[in-house]
C-alpha cells in the first residue's frame, strides 16, 4: 500500500541520527581494526597512504582513509590468486559463499570475486527483510524472484530476506519466463515481483495473455536506470496495473552490488532509496578530486562496510553517480536516502561538453507518450560528440513525432539531438536487462549478451 509505515526492525529503522552516528563510529573502529589485522591488502593500503587507523577518532575522520577502487581489487586477486589478500577469513571457516560481480554488463570484463561468511549472509538477510518491508512486500505475499542467479549473492540475500519476513519466495529466475511464470502463476497468487524493468515488459505481456488479474501490489527491482525515474514509475505502474486487481501498485527502486550487498530500497512513498546506515557508511565524493561532497550534491557513491567478515570494503568507489538526502522521510525512517542512481560514471557520454547519462535519455523519452523507449546510442571510446544521435527502429515513429522528439529531447537534455532510423538488425535490444548507451568497442559483446538473453527465453 502506498505511504504505509511498516517496519521490520522499527528501533533500528527510526533511530535518531545522533544515536546512529555513535553506532556507526563504534562499528567503524572495530572493522578498521579487523581489516588491519586480517588483511595484507589493507595493511599495505593503510601503510602506503601513511594512515594509522588509531588516529580515526571521530566519524568524520573517515575521509582521512584512502579510497578503494575496483581495479585495485581486480589486480589484488589476479596477482595473489583466489580471493586476493583482501579476503579476511580462512577457507576452513564453514558455510561461506563465493560470488562474482560483473556477470552481465561489465565494461572491462574483469570481475571481482567476493566471499561472505555465514554472519555476512545473515546480516544481508536482515537487510533484505527490512528492504522488502520498506518496499511494501508483506508476509502474506508470494514474491516472485526474477533475477539472474549465477554467482549472484543479491539473489541469495533476497531469498533469505523472504524467509525472515515470512513471505513466500518463488525462485522463478531470469529465463524461460513463459514456462516459469505460467507454472507459478497458475498455482500461486503473485503479490510482489522482484524484477528488472526490462524483464517487467516481457512478464506483464505474458501475464496479460492469460486474461486473468492477479493480486500484484508491489514491484521492486534493480539495475538499469531504475524504477526511480518518474516517467518510468508512471509507465510501469500502468503496465502492471493491467494485470493486477489491486487498487494500488507500488513501484520501488532497489540498489545493491554483489561485492557490497544490498544498499538501498525505496519505501512506499517512492521518494528516494533508503540506505542501511547501521550496516554501511555512505559518502558522496567528487570523482575527480576525491573530496567529500555535502548532502544534496551529485557525485560518486563511496561505501564502507560496517558489518562484514569475509571481504570488508573500506571507502569503496562504487562508480555510481547519485546524491544523498538526510531529511526525514514521510515513512518515518531516519536512514538517508539516495535520490535515484543517475548512472555509472564510466558509461556517461560527452555531448558538446555536457555529461549525459542513459537515465536522462530514458526519462526524457519515457515522458513521450506511446513511444516504446527502445533506442541505442553508440559512441567510440571517450569521444566527445557534437550531437546526440539516438538510433531508433526504422518506421517505428512518424516524421512529425521524430521532429518533436528531437525538439523535446534537445530542450530537456540541453544538447542537440538527432534521431537516426536503423534497421531491426542494427538495433540492439534486450529482454532481461538493457544497456542502451554503448561503447562501439563493446558492441559485439553486447550483441552476444542480447542474443544469449533471447535464447534464455526460448
Amino acid at each position: 500500500m502506498r505511504g504505509t509505515t511498516e517496519y521490520w526492525m522499527e528501533d533500528v529503522e527510526t533511530i535518531s541520527r545522533s544515536d546512529l552516528a555513535k553506532i556507526q563510529f563504534e562499528k567503524l573502529r572495530k572493522i578498521l581494526a579487523y581489516c588491519q589485522s586480517h588483511s595484507k591488502f589493507y595493511q599495505k593500503k593503510f601503510r602506503d597512504a601513511g594512515v594509522s587507523i588509531s588516529k580515526v577518532s571521530r566519524l568524520e575522520d573517515i575521509d582521512t582513509l584512502p579510497l578503494t577502487s575496483r581495479e585495485e581489487i581486480v589486480t589484488d586477486q589476479m596477482e595473489n590468486g583466489r580471493l586476493g589478500n583482501i579476503m579476511c577469513t580462512e577457507f576452513e571457516e564453514p558455510g561461506q559463499t563465493i560470488g562474482m560481480t560483473g556477470i552481465k554488463f561489465s565494461a572491462t570484463e574483469r570481475p571481482i570475486r567476493v566471499i561472505i561468511s555465514i554472519e555476512d549472509a545473515a546480516s544481508q538477510g536482515r537487510l533484505a527483510a527490512r528492504g522488502l518491508t520498506c518496499a511494501g512486500v508483506q508476509p502474506k505475499d508470494y514474491l516472485f524472484s526474477m533475477d539472474f542467479p549465477q554467482f549472484n549473492l543479491l539473489y541469495m540475500h533476497m531469498g533469505l530476506g523472504c524467509i525472515n519476513l515470512g513471505s513466500k519466495n518463488l525462485s522463478a529466475g531470469m529465463e524461460r519466463a513463459e514456462r516459469n511464470t505460467s507454472i507459478y502463476t497458475r498455482l500461486y497468487p503473485p503479490g510482489a515481483f522482484n524484477i528488472s524493468p526490462t524483464y517487467s515488459k516481457l512478464v506483464t505481456k505474458l501475464l496479460k495473455q492469460t486474461g486473468k488479474r492477479y493480486p500484484i501490489h508491489a514491484i521492486l527491482g534493480w539495475s538499469e536506470p531504475g524504477y526511480s525515474l518518474p516517467s518510468w514509475k508512471k509507465q510501469f505502474r500502468e503496465m502492471w496495473g493491467e494485470v493486477s486487481d489491486q487498487p494500488e501498485i507500488t513501484v520501488c527502486d532497489v540498489y545493491g552490488m554483489v561485492e557490497v550487498g544490498l544498499l538501498a530500497f525505496e519505501c512506499t512513498n517512492e521518494k528516494g532509496l533508503h540506505g542501511f546506515e547501521d550496516a554501511h557508511i555512505y559518502e558522496i565524493i567528487d570523482p575527480n578530486t576525491g573530496d567529500v561532497l555535502p548532502p544534496g550534491e551529485e557525485g560518486e557513491l563511496v561505501i564502507t562496510h560496517l558489518e562484514r567478515e569475509g571481504m570488508p570494503l573500506i571507502r569503496y568507489r562504487t562508480g555510481d553517480i547519485t546524491s544523498l538526502q538526510l531529511e526525514r522521510c514521510e515513512c518515518g525512517r531516519t536512514h538517508l536516502r539516495l535520490m535515484g542512481i543517475k548512472g555509472r560514471l564510466d558509461q556517461a557520454i560527452n555531448v558538446a561538453g555536457k555529461k549525459i547519462y542513459q537515465s536522462q535519455i530514458e526519462e526524457t523519452l519515457g515522458s513521450i507518450k506511446d513511444y516504446s523507449g527502445e533506442f541505442n546510442v553508440v559512441v567510440n571510446g571517450s569521444e566527445i560528440l557534437s550531437i546526440l544521435e539516438l538510433r531508433v527502429l526504422k518506421d517505428s515513429i512518424s516524421e512529425k513525432v521524430q521532429r518533436d522528439l528531437e525538439d523535446v529531447c534537445g530542450k530537456k537534455l540541453g544538447v542537440p539531438v538527432r534521431i537516426q532510423d536503423v534497421a531491426k538488425e542494427d538495433l540492439v535490444t534486450f529482454v532481461h536487462r538493457s544497456q542502451k548507451v554503448m561503447r562501439a568497442e563493446s558492441l559485439e559483446r553486447l550483441k552476444k549478451e542480447a542474443a544469449s538473453q533471447l535464447r534464455g527465453e526460448t
Binding site: F91, I98, I103, Q150, N152, G159, L170, S171, G173, I183
Partner: protein
C-alpha cells in the same frame, strides 16, 4: 571439539545399529502418523476410507496398512484445490499457510507441475539439496571437509528441484553446509569453469549430463580439467548416473580426475548418497523410511529384491509424504556397507527396468552380463540372452556370445566365460559361442533378451520396446 579427521559427520546416527534404527523409525512413524492424521485432510480421508486409525500403526510392518499414494493422486488433488479456488497443496498441508516460507518446484513438463511448500526448519534441519543434515552427511561421506570449495552447478531459478535462492541462502547461514559454496547455476559454462579454476574449487555438484558436457567447453577455452582444476569429488544427481549407467562413472572419472559420488533423491525418500564404497545410496533412516514393493502385486518385498521404491517421511513436514510410490525401481540392502555406515542402501537397477530379466523368481539385468562381455578379451561385444522352457517345462536361460576370429580354442574360451558369467550373475546360464556378426539383426534392434517362455511374455516384451504412449498429464491439460 570439532574433529575434522572424524570419518563420519554424525557417528551416533550413521553408525547406529540396525535394530536401534528400526526402533527410532517406529517411534518417529507413530509420531508422524498422529500428526498427519490430525493435520492433513488428504491423508485423514485415506485412513477413514478404510477405517484405519493412527493407533493401528505401531510397528514398521504396520506401515503397510497405510494405502499407497502416487503422483497421479497428488496431481488430482492439486487440480481439485485449484478448481475450488484454493492453493494447490491445501488438501495436504499440515500447518497454517503463514508458516510456509518457500515453494519448491520439481520440473513438471506437462500438466500440473509439482510444487511443495516448506517450513523454514525443513530447509535448515534435515534440509533439501545443499542444505541441512542431508548435505552435511553427503559431502562428509564424499571425503570433503571445511576448506573445500563447492561449485553448486544446479538450476537456481526457474522451478527446478533443489534450486532456489532461498534454499541456498538459508543453507549459507548454517554451519551444516561446512563447505564454501559458489552458486554457479547452469549456463555460461566458460565462466563457471573459469571461477572453478581461479578459486581452486575442490568439488562440484551437477547432473551427470552436465558433467559430460563441461569438458567440451573446457577444451574450447583451453582449460585442462586435470591440471588447471583439481577436483577431489564430483557429486552427481538429478538423473540416472554412474550408479545405474554402465561405464559412466569411469568415463567421468577419466574426464575429471576425481571420484564420482552419485545420489538419488525422490519424494519421500529424501536424499540418498553414495559413500566411498560406491555400492548403493545410503538412506538417512532417521529422516525417511524407504521400502520396496512388487510393482504388480504392491506387496512389500524383502531386502535384495528389485521393485518400486516407496518412501515415507518421518519428519513433521508442511507437506507430508506417507507411502509414496515413486515407481522408481530399485532394491534395498540391509547388509553392512564397507564404509561402516549401518543405514540401508538403495541399489539402483543397473539399467532400464524394462530390460530386467525375471527367471525362476530370480532377478538379473543384461547390463551385468554386458559388463563381463565388455571386459573379457576375445569377446566381440555383442550377446543375446534367450529365455526358454525345456522339455519338462522348466525355465532356463542361455546366452549367445559373439567371439573375435582370433580366439583359438573356442570350447576352452566358452567354459571360462560361462564360469565367469555364472559367478557374476549368480545364476546358471548356458553360454554358446557364435562367430562375430551372427547376432547382427538383433544388435540393430538393440534387443538383448529374447523371451520365448510364453506367448503372453513374448508380447509383453515386444511392447516394452515400443515408445511409451502419451503422458497421463496430457489428459490433465485438457481438463
Amino acid at each position: 571439539m570439532y574433529d575434522v579427521n572424524r570419518k563420519y559427520w554424525d557417528p551416533k546416527i550413521e553408525l547406529m545399529s540396525l535394530k536401534e534404527i528400526k526402533i527410532l523409525q517406529e517411534r518417529r512413524l507413530r509420531r508422524v502418523v498422529d500428526f498427519v492424521y490430525s493435520q492433513s485432510p488428504f491423508y485423514r480421508k485415506k485412513f477413514d476410507e478404510i477405517g484405519l486409525k493412527p493407533k493401528h500403526i505401531k510397528t514398521l510392518k504396520d506401515i503397510n496398512k497405510i494405502p499407497l499414494t502416487n503422483k497421479y493422486e497428488f496431481r488430482d488433488s492439486y487440480a481439485r484445490s485449484l478448481e475450488a479456488g484454493k492453493l494447490p497443496f491445501s488438501e495436504f498441508i499440515t500447518v497454517p499457510e503463514e508458516q510456509v516460507v518457500t515453494i519448491h518446484a520439481s520440473s513438471g513438463t506437462t500438466g500440473i507441475p509439482f510444487s511443495f511448500p516448506y517450513l523454514e526448519r525443513e530447509i535448515t534441519e534435515h534440509g533439501i539439496l545443499a542444505t541441512g543434515e542431508h548435505a552435511a552427511r553427503q559431502f562428509w561421506a564424499a571425503g570433503l571437509r571445511p576448506g573445500d570449495i563447492l561449485a553448486h552447478i544446479w538450476n537456481l531459478g526457474g522451478a527446478m528441484a533443489g534450486g532456489g535462492n532461498h534454499i541456498i541462502a538459508k543453507g549459507a547461514c548454517i554451519p551444516e553446509l561446512f563447505l564454501t559454496m559458489i552458486p554457479c547455476h547452469v549456463g555460461n559454462t566458460e565462466k563457471i569453469l573459469q571461477i572453478m579454476k581461479d578459486v581452486n574449487a575442490t568439488v562440484m555438484i551437477c547432473t551427470p549430463s552436465y558433467a559430460i558436457y563441461m569438458p567440451e567447453v573446457a577444451k574450447n577455452i583451453g582449460i585442462d580439467l586435470r591440471k588447471d582444476i583439481h577436483l577431489k569429488a564430483v557429486v552427481t544427481g538429478g538423473e540416472p548416473g554412474g550408479a545405474s549407467i554402465p561405464g559412466l562413472r569411469d568415463k567421468l572419472k577419466g574426464l575429471w580426475g576425481a571420484e564420482i559420488f552419485d545420489m538419488y533423491g525422490g519424494i519421500g525418500t529424501g536424499l540418498d548418497h553414495e559413500c566411498e564404497a560406491h555400492s548403493g545410496f545410503h538412506i538417512q533412516s532417521d529422516i525417511v523410511f524407504v521400502q520396496v514393493i512388487d510393482p504388480e502385486t504392491k506387496e512389500e518385498l524383502p531386502q535384495g529384491e528389485y521393485g518400486s521404491l516407496v518412501g515415507s517421511g518421518l519428519e513433521l513436514s508442511a507437506f507430508p509424504v506417507l507411502r509414496f510410490d515413486s515407481e522408481d525401481r530399485g532394491a534395498i540392502s540391509e547388509e553392512r556397507c564397507e564404509c561402516g555406515r549401518t543405514h540401508p542402501r538403495i541399489l539402483s537397477v543397473p539399467g532400464r527396468w524394462d530390460d530386467m530379466i525375471k527367471i525362476k523368481g530370480f532377478q538379473l539385468h543384461p547390463n551385468s552380463i554386458e559388463k563381463v562381455v565388455n571386459e573379457t578379451k576375445g569377446c566381440a561385444g555383442e550377446f543375446l540372452v534367450i529365455l526358454d522352457k525345456d522339455e519338462s517345462q522348466k525355465e532356463q536361460m542361455s546366452i549367445k556370445v559373439e567371439y573375435e576370429p582370433e580366439v583359438e580354442d573356442i570350447e576352452q574360451f566358452r567354459e571360462k566365460l560361462e564360469h565367469h558369467i555364472r559367478v557374476v550373475i549368480t545364476f546358471k546360464a548356458n553360454v554358446e559361442m557364435v562367430p562375430k556378426g551372427t547376432l547382427g539383426r538383433y544388435v540393430m534392434k538393440k534387443q538383448r533378451v529374447i523371451d520365448n517362455r510364453s506367448q503372453e511374455k513374448k508380447e509383453k516384451f515386444e511392447d516394452s520396446l515400443k515408445v511409451r504412449s502419451a503422458d497421463y498429464f496430457d489428459s490433465h491439460k485438457n481438463k
